[in-house]
């Protein structure tokens, strides 16, 4: 459905994207991750046909983005990064304008505008000027225009930026409803967001693809097994020393608070250290009021990938 082959983009002397290739089959929801300036937006702009790649090509629903540009563009819905809209237009008027330019019939526009307004919770503000809407509502208008013509492919650039937690939850539910009908590529900074909603994750670093896989696959690549979080009543130095003695421990992080210590233990291998750690604390007569085992998540993988001092390792892990 979405295919990129050796996409390269140079802005003058700066390389924004370097030789990016991937294919996304129909119906997949893919998260696009990477630090600022990794080339996520540039890639999305090339896939939508807004920016031509310096070299390489891309196909949307079987249409070459450059050679059959209009056919490719007809198949996409796009929400750009900063949700650029016309402030002087009313929500409904704007959606109708987009619908006309998307070759929708009058009846089709009326029906779809009702549907997307419902779906994006815009019904009560349809007559408001876009310029007077809050950031969250503007974001919803942006999403509504992307969904308007029921495109087969959706590109969402930072769709949750500027939304409050409640709105993010709504957005996630919406995404769940959309996944049956659309192939979706969304970029985001919020790792937990991506983890919960996507089938697959692509991670970009300096314009290159450094990771590609399902969340589980990527989490499995995190060095070391599950971390153990403990709340211990003792002096920080003592806790550090005691837990450091346990075999298989790679790192102990201690944060004292109110006479207690919040401890995070990272194992060196895949073994579960919970038992060994609690035994050690009992042996030292240090009271424990909480023990949690935390499986590696996407954030652990992401941090591991972008650890500055092992630049080469990032590629090796991927």
């Amino acid at each position: 459905m979405i295919q990129a082959e050796q996409l390269v983009k140079w802005f003058g002397p700066t390389r924004a994207v370097g030789g990016l290739s991937f294919a996304i089959p129909k119906g997949q929801v893919v998260g696009f991750l990477g630090p600022n300036g990794a080339g996520k937006s540039t890639t999305l702009r090339m896939l939508t046909g807004y920016l031509p790649p310096t070299s390489g090509s891309a196909w949307i629903a079987g249409h070459n983005v450059l050679k059959e540009s209009e056919a490719a563009r007809a198949a996409i819905g796009y929400l750009p990064e900063s949700t650029p809209l016309y402030p002087e237009m009313r929500v409904q008027e704007y959606l109708d304008y987009r619908g006309k330019l998307l070759n929708m019939s009058r009846g089709g526009r009326v029906r779809r505008i009702n549907e997307v307004c419902d779906r994006c919770s815009l019904s009560h503000i349809r007559r408001r000027l876009i310029g007077q809407l809050s950031k969250g509502n503007r974001q919803r208008v942006g999403l509504a225009q992307a969904l308007l013509h029921e495109p087969t492919v959706l590109f969402l650039d930072e769709p949750t930026a500027g939304l409050d937690p409640n709105q993010i939850k709504h957005f996630r539910e919406l995404l769940g409803e959309l996944r049956d009908k659309h192939t979706i590529l969304l970029s985001s900074h919020i790792l937990t967001e991506i983890e919960k909603t996507v089938d697959r994750v692509l991670i970009l670093k300096e314009g290159e693809l450094v990771a590609d896989g399902t969340t589980d696959e990527l989490c499995g690549k995190v060095q070391g097994g599950s971390r153990v979080l403990l709340d211990v009543q003792a002096e920080a130095g003592a806790v550090q020393a005691a837990l450091g003695e346990v075999t298989g421990v790679r790192e102990v992080e201690v944060i004292p608070h109110d006479g207690w210590c919040r401890v995070e233990v990272t194992p060196a291998g895949k073994d579960d250290l919970t038992d060994a750690l609690t035994l050690k604390l009992t042996e030292k007569s240090m009271p424990v009021r909480e023990v949690t085992r935390r499986k590696p998540n996407l954030e652990d993988y992401y941090l591991q990938l972008f650890q500055e001092n092992d630049k080469g390792a990032a590629k090796a892990i991927a």
């Binding site: 056919a71 996409i76 650029p84 330019l101």
Partner: protein, 241 residues
């Protein structure tokens, strides 16, 4: 064509949303009325020729103010990204923008039409030359707005677009005449002819007299087409840059 009209309609509506539109309308209406009154006296010839010439001068600063935001504002606000990822062509975008601005220009002509009616109520003017003169003003407006559309496709800044348009519009009229009289041009008759040819005021003269000359019409239509083509090329150039 439908897409062109859709874009034009949006452009026209959004022009009326901006304060610039009302300043331009106000200045233009006030200016033309003043100039009309200056020549409105018993015994004076019942014609609009002098007024049409004055309107031509008024258009030099005011028309660029209409066109300055057409495309530059899309670039500045980033809305261009959503516009250019629609399944429509760059030519449709440019034509739509220009047509929307023309719609506003027609609104500007309403005060002039009102003055014609005032003249008609008080005397018995020969309507032929007046209407042809209005057609001439429309031709000039179309050309100036095409130049403005091109300028606004070059830059994100409305002010730069305004200044570029004014400079080009000036170059096409008073400046061309001044240059044609320069000493060194006298030795090169083809330059002189060229300068006289591109002089919009010169091309307008026949219209003001009530003559529709095909050559003049071709000048304005092709000039307008040329600048709209430049604007389209400028938009497309982002695909090669």
């Amino acid at each position: 064509m439908n897409h062109v009209l859709t874009i034009a309609k949006r452009e026209l509506t959004s022009l009326f949303f901006s304060p610039v539109a009302y300043v331009v309308l106000g200045l233009f209406g006030f200016g033309t009325a003043l100039l009309f009154l200056a020549g409105f006296a018993p015994g004076a010839p019942a014609e609009m020729r002098n007024l049409q010439w004055s309107v031509l001068w008024l258009m030099i600063p005011l028309v660029p103010a209409i066109s300055m935001r057409l495309i530059s504002e899309e670039f500045r606000a980033g809305t261009i990204e959503l516009l250019m990822t629609l399944p429509i062509s760059d030519t449709q975008v440019v034509l739509g923008k220009w047509l929307g601005a023309m719609g506003f220009f027609l609104t500007l002509m309403i005060p002039v039409a009102v003055l014609v009616a005032v003249l008609g109520l008080n005397s018995n003017p020969d309507l032929g030359p007046i209407l042809v003169g209005m057609l001439g003003l429309l031709m000039v407006g179309g050309l100036y707005l095409a130049i403005g559309t091109f300028a606004s496709a070059i830059t994100q800044s409305q002010i730069i677009a305004f200044l570029l348009t004014t400079a080009m519009v000036l170059a096409f009229s008073p400046l061309a005449v001044l240059l044609a009289r320069a000493g060194w041009v006298a030795d090169h008759p083809w330059i002189k002819q060229g300068l006289f040819y591109i002089n919009v005021f010169g091309q307008f003269e026949d219209f003001a007299k009530g003559i529709i000359d095909l050559g003049r019409v071709v000048f304005f239509v092709s000039g307008t087409g040329l600048f709209l083509f430049f604007a389209t090329l400028t938009l497309q150039s982002r695909r090669w840059r």
